[in-house]
Symmetry: D3
Subunit: 239 residues, 6 copies
């Protein structure tokens, strides 16, 4: 099984810093390739970033399918252009934000998301309304650390921990979902510190992609567009 | 007052066919300019189309603000990249789908939307969940006429009328919202035939844009991004 | 176009104090008449006030239609007897509370309402549940200034500002809707101070009434009663 | 214990026709008085009727409290002015529609309401949204028999039975709530015929009023107005 | 009329301590029998307790029906196995938690529940989601007094009062529902102290059971199982 | 990794018939043991069955943890006593119904469940309300084939197919979730026939259990009881 992880920004250093973790996130025997965009924003921290990155993401999704990948993991907790990506290809497209929310549902009644910025928090709130999972979310909080500064893991850990504690103590959360795939490295340490489940969206997304591939499941054509991936009218993305 | 209507596709014939109607949709003394995209999909009928059109739309929105327009009307019932557009500029950004839903709320308890295709219907259903207005929507139905074939007004009228009747008789709708700005020309005739309010999203959007300009209101920065339009870091769109 | 603004209380001094603002709230060329009730409560601050004012309001609404007005603006943020008023006449009936909520939906994801008293706050909460817009409301707060004391604009401004700040900082609001039409005079100043959209319900109601008249739209008979305004069985109100 | 049943219309023949049933609906030892309005609409079949009847209903509610009744049953499935009535007096005010919905919640997961007219159905739908009980309602259906023609019990029975069957077979209802207090006489027969619980709102309201009196419970002042019934500013109703 | 109150734990001292209160909770002429379980947990404070008590509760419910009781009151605010109990017998099965919530709906717009432990609070939250009444619940709070220590009434009163005040002042509650039937003895005193309705679930359950018996209503077979109580396949409970 | 699949009925032939499929449902290298109950109902088709099976299920869950299993899969689409099971042990407890719903969320906007009987359909509807996922469920339909007759695969296939088609064509479903773990054998064939994703709950549950084990995640103690599995007060189940 081969899974293509698509990081929807154009920061090669960010990609390089995540690659090892993504490979470790997969089960034994699963091949993971980690790519980022050739063009587009350096990080996805607003709806504007999402809009500008859109065609480039679609281009990578289509390329992954053409190159024989079994599934795509969109490596972004904001679930950027996930509907469009599912329309574009026949292989399963899993998105890190959504995947982490789904896993949280089986671990607690109410979860909170700790993300990077107010703008991503707001976009995630809107996503939760869209998927109807807002009923199970206690809060979405921002650690106020930009994506590309998460590399400073101590700072990231401290800032996320503070918001996670507030989520547990004041908002009624019972589990924490990390709201940025750049937070993967601190997930285990946070779980140990907090004593409740802490879900890494990047890992959740790869694991869920594996499940769909093993079970022979992919996005419903009745939900995601009337055409099929074999259709000659499919665009080839943002090129 | 000057309002820039941005048709988010690259079909100049479609734009030309709508221009007169858009100008008539505005109040006396309001200047309306109707543009479409230089590049991008020829029509917006899926999330994929939306993703590919995104940067081009943002580019036009930014240009409108730079050229001194008082408001932008995104002329699409699918409300494509409306969050991103509001992040990008300080002037009011009104979107045809959302505007038509808001007006419907003041006319009936339950409204139905009749749109062009199953794929647009599905995207509109997701938008209604996102905005929380699904509680007031009786149904979203597709007339199965592609955007660029709406120019055949008799065919369009007949197909929309049939779905609108089903919405009223079977789904409990009390008002009809047209789910494509290309349907403007048949709105009045449909209202006469059906005996319930029929809302043209293109007209709704221009009228609501005027209201926001007159009242000195624009998208909240607390909702749409922490930065401001004067911020030098704002991207100039997809160019 | 002629719009009749009906202030649903019997306080002539209150009416006189609002008249100029209402006329300024309309677009150029729109004639605005501002009336209040001949009988009934001196202010509307509870459901009890609403029940007692009901027939007198209906009487004025019917009179407006009979005297050739193009639309009615019910000038009360509690949306008193709005369903009944729409049943009573064929012209558009816009209500200040509802109108301000609709406009807020296009400006922010979550808005808060700052009203006069706990009793009006509670009635507005019930209205939001009824219209399904509670999903978008962050809170409803009371400034604890009775309607007829809003004339002391400094006191009103200070009290409303304090509650609006709490709404923004603690409740997650991104825009403020004023919860009493007697608060019109402080709206612009509040918006300047707070840096988020502040919506005056009286102005919103007149502007929305204009929109419906221009678009040829009025309350759906399928939603508001089976009869029509021309029906001889229509009551003539509370006289 | 003395309960005043207030029929919110001015039809003395209707009142007389219901009186015996109301007295039988109460438990042994409970005194029931059945009054109707001196003035106002002959039946309550629309929001307009409700608005016009409002002050007269409040007048009767206040009189009941002044004359030492232990509770009031508002004998109308449309729950007319129930908030105002609770603000007006300190004794429990139970309303037939709401009471019947509450009892249904303990008997089935989904109930349907069969009422008289489309206009009452629509008002009841709005009430269910307001109380949040729409999640448990399968449908609201109209038998298309006006209130004052329910006296023809055979016609009423046949029409209600037909709609109740549709509710059970097509809408997923598991219990039937009658949507007009004038339907009391056919409730038992319908239950026998349908094999599911059928709830008479008039009886439900009296029974629930008894419960509140026995338990020493009445409407919360925190919910229904800041003042108290002893307050000299309380209006004496519509006189 | 004979009502069997089933306390779903195996603590005879607890049962004995409640018996008198339950008999007083019924109307004149209603016979009340109070039983507890022969086996099973000593108190119900978690879902685990509920699962272990389940068959024993069902056994008692079936025995009550066989011995000619007119109704059963499940004396637990956690509404343990209420669906199963309704499937098992034809007589009305009322459950204390649900009954208290239903009565609260008629007294206030928002109620809070003060229960014994965090684990019962969490189970009650889940029940409110299940019944859809969470829209009307302001909060569920735990007094942190185990069921069997409620016998220390001063301690119980003080702890419950503190949480109830927080519910009223911080959560927006307008009425208090006690979240354990072992709290019956402090209900009246709390209501006097707090000035808002305080509902004793044990009393609510008996009173509601009486109502259903008087009205000839019982759980819908369409909602609670396809079989009937006369069906030979009905299990005889946990024996 | 060792996963214990607990079939919550006492039918050894049913268990034997499923064992092979469950082992095949796991990933390479994962050990799967399939047990059923020693005592209790022969199948779980009602809430009554669930209540009676409860203590026996808990007993098996506790035994699995004691015997060193890494996770438990509760092999029932009705999600019987899942909260209690999570309270009882520290290892992940995955339940087949919930697991299948979570996977469906990532494949389609609206899914329908096709289960065995009306009584299981009703219990599943209640579960969906409890988890808040009813917003994403198009319908729950019964194939009217009892659990133990599913062994007749042709009959099962035909009956399920018919209901699935109705779900897709009339209810708006875009994916099908099988509502009984005894339906595993027909899942693949149904998916081929229907052209939309068909989810086998038994497989979904095992796959999700693997994910949680690999990710080091288990039920939150903040959600599922204050105690821990090491706590001496933990019951040893129904023995």
């Amino acid at each position: 099984m081969k899974i293509r992880v698509i990081i929807p920004n154009s920061s090669e250093p960010f990609r390089a810093g995540q690659e090892e973790d993504r490979k470790k996130a997969a089960s034994a025997g699963v091949e993971v390739e980690v790519v980022c965009l050739q063009e587009g924003p350096e990080s996805i921290e607003s709806a504007l970033d999402e809009a500008l990155a859109g065609p480039h993401i679609i281009g990578e999704v289509v390329r992954a399918a053409q190159e024989g990948c079994d599934a795509v993991s969109l490596d972004c907790a904001m679930d950027t252009v996930v509907r469009a990506a599912r329309e574009a290809v026949d292989i399963p497209v899993v998105s890190a934000g959504e995947a982490s929310h789904l896993l949280a549902l089986g671990l607690a009644r109410r979860f909170s998301i700790v993300t990077v910025m107010d703008s991503t928090a707001e976009a995630i709130r809107e996503n939760l309304a869209k998927t109807g999972l807002d009923r199970r979310a206690a809060s979405v909080r921002a650690a106020h650390v930009p994506v590309l500064e998460l590399a400073d893991q101590e700072r990231a850990f401290t800032a996320i921990l503070a918001q996670a504690r507030l989520a547990l103590e004041e908002d009624g959360a019972q589990a924490i979902v990390l709201g940025c795939t750049g937070m993967s490295q601190v997930a285990a340490r946070l779980q140990k510190e907090l004593g409740v489940p802490v879900i890494d969206p990047a890992e959740a997304s790869i694991q869920l992609a594996e499940v769909y591939v093993r079970m022979g499941l992919s996005g419903s054509r009745a939900a995601y567009g009337p055409g099929s991936g074999a259709d000659g009218n499919r665009p080839s993305g943002g090129h």
